[in-house]
């Protein structure tokens, strides 16, 4: 997915909000890609973590909204322990999720989960899943 860099697409408010919620300075990222290489879920992402960091740096809200990245992230912290810039990337992902969740935009609908699956699944799957993917 190509995107164009232009001043009019740069949303300073978005950058500020993500910094505020995450407490992380993603501007430190120098695009080495260690996060994408470490991410077990990268194959399933439309935008890999490195690229997501670039979108954030640019403040490109439209491209960020389209990316499924934060919703596929499993918060496993594999990227964070290896980041040479010591950026807590899972916190940045959480902030991007929170932008939607705080607007009450749920990613999954608990009512639609298969009943058999609910019966089989450990509680921690549901507690953590709802915490991460619903408002």
């Amino acid at each position: 997915m190509p995107f164009f860099i232009s001043k009019s697409d740069s949303d300073e408010k978005l950058r500020q909000k993500v910094k505020e919620i995450s407490g992380e300075n993603f501007q430190k990222c120098y695009q080495c890609g260690t996060c994408s290489g470490s991410c077990p879920m990268a194959d399933h992402m439309t935008v890999v973590p490195r690229r997501l960091m670039a979108l954030l740096q640019l403040g490109n809200r439209a491209a960020l909204d389209e990316a499924n990245t934060p919703w596929v992230c499993a918060s496993c912290h594999a990227c964070m322990v290896r980041c040479p810039r010591s950026i807590d990337i899972p916190k940045v992902m959480e902030a991007v999720r929170q932008l939607k969740i705080r607007d009450r935009l749920d990613r999954i609908e608990p009512g639609k989960i298969d009943k058999k699956q609910i019966a089989d699944m450990p509680q921690i799957a549901m507690v953590s899943g709802f915490r991460k993917l619903t408002s």
Binding site: E20, D43, A74, S75, V81, D88, P122, Q123, I124, R131
Partner: protein, 295 residues
């Protein structure tokens, strides 16, 4: 020393085989334990948003309970509970500002400063009990068993909550070796199983779990041992789905580490609750003559 045992929600229901076998191990090891009174769910995941303190109330309340009940140490079995409680404890120890807010918010409780130590059963064995003492308690060594310890994420990452080095851990291998088993080291032992993405992206979680099992088998593992009920679900209970989807998928026996530990420590197989594992795991134990054919 008496330790406070924190079960968490899943160990009382879907992971009875983890709880029952672990408590039998503690008894066999002569460790005095007491279930934490009035414990509540820890929230399963640590809050990653900097401005979200409300989700810290649940784990901190558990830690306050432990302090109130005179415990110095909280022992956890579930990796996710361990991670959530350990990280909440670190925050209460080191972040003065947030600690103040949380203590003020919970004004009905005594103030908490991170006084209680949060441990997982594995680092308890290494740091408190000691591998040598532990080895001395083994009565049925698991000789000839090739097991691959699977760490997953929450026992090792982030560093502040890790029970061992995040990049080349050995604590799980050391535990299995102490039990007499051959511990198989495999590259994907610390890779995430997909965790809660079983809800959001079940296909993606299935693929990463399948890759982990394949990797373990390729390195000579006969069975996988783990510590987390959600890993057990993704890597174990979803194996029939894997077999439908991936041609190369086969059944892999899976155990909670405490179940094999219990056998080695001479606990009766009935107390390991193997009937809650998949049939393939039971067959494996029968083949190894660790449980009777009728069990």
């Amino acid at each position: 020393m008496k330790v406070a045992y924190y079960p968490g929600c899943t160990l009382k229901t879907k992971a009875k085989n983890l709880e029952t076998s672990a408590l039998a191990c503690l008894d066999a090891l002569g460790v005095e334990w007491q279930e934490l009174e009035r414990w509540n769910c820890c929230g399963a995941v640590y809050s990653l948003a900097d401005d979200d303190l409300i989700h810290l109330v649940a784990p901190v309340r558990d830690l306050i309970r432990a302090k109130q009940q005179g415990h110095e140490m909280v022992l956890t079995l579930c990796s996710m509970c361990y991670n959530t409680l350990a990280r909440a404890n670190e925050l209460m120890k080191h972040d003065e500002e947030k600690r103040k807010t949380i203590n003020l918010f919970m004004d009905e409780e005594p103030d908490y400063f991170g006084e209680v130590k949060v441990v997982h059963f594995l680092d308890f064995l290494r740091d408190v009990y000691g591998w040598e003492n532990f080895k001395a308690k083994v009565v049925n060594p698991l000789n000839g068993m090739k097991v691959a310890p699977y760490y997953g994420c929450t026992l090792l990452r982030p560093k502040e909550a890790g029970i061992d080095r995040f990049d080349n851990p050995s604590i799980f291998q050391d535990c299995m070796t102490a039990l007499g088993a051959e511990a198989i080291n495999f590259p994907m032992s610390t890779q995430c199983c997909g965790t809660y993405q079983v809800l959001g992206n079940p296909e993606a979680a299935l693929k990463v779990s399948f890759d982990i099992l394949t990797n373990a088998k390729a390195h000579g593992a006969e069975a996988l041992v783990l510590a987390c009920p959600l890993c057990d679900y993704n890597l174990g209970k979803r194996q029939p789905e894997m077999k439908e989807k991936y041609e190369l998928a086969g059944d892999v026996p899976l155990f909670y580490f405490t179940q094999l530990m219990a056998l080695a420590l001479g606990v009766k197989p009935e107390d390991c609750r193997f009937e809650l594992n998949r049939e393939v795991s039971l067959e494996f134990l029968r083949d190894k003559n660790l449980v009777k054919a009728t069990a």
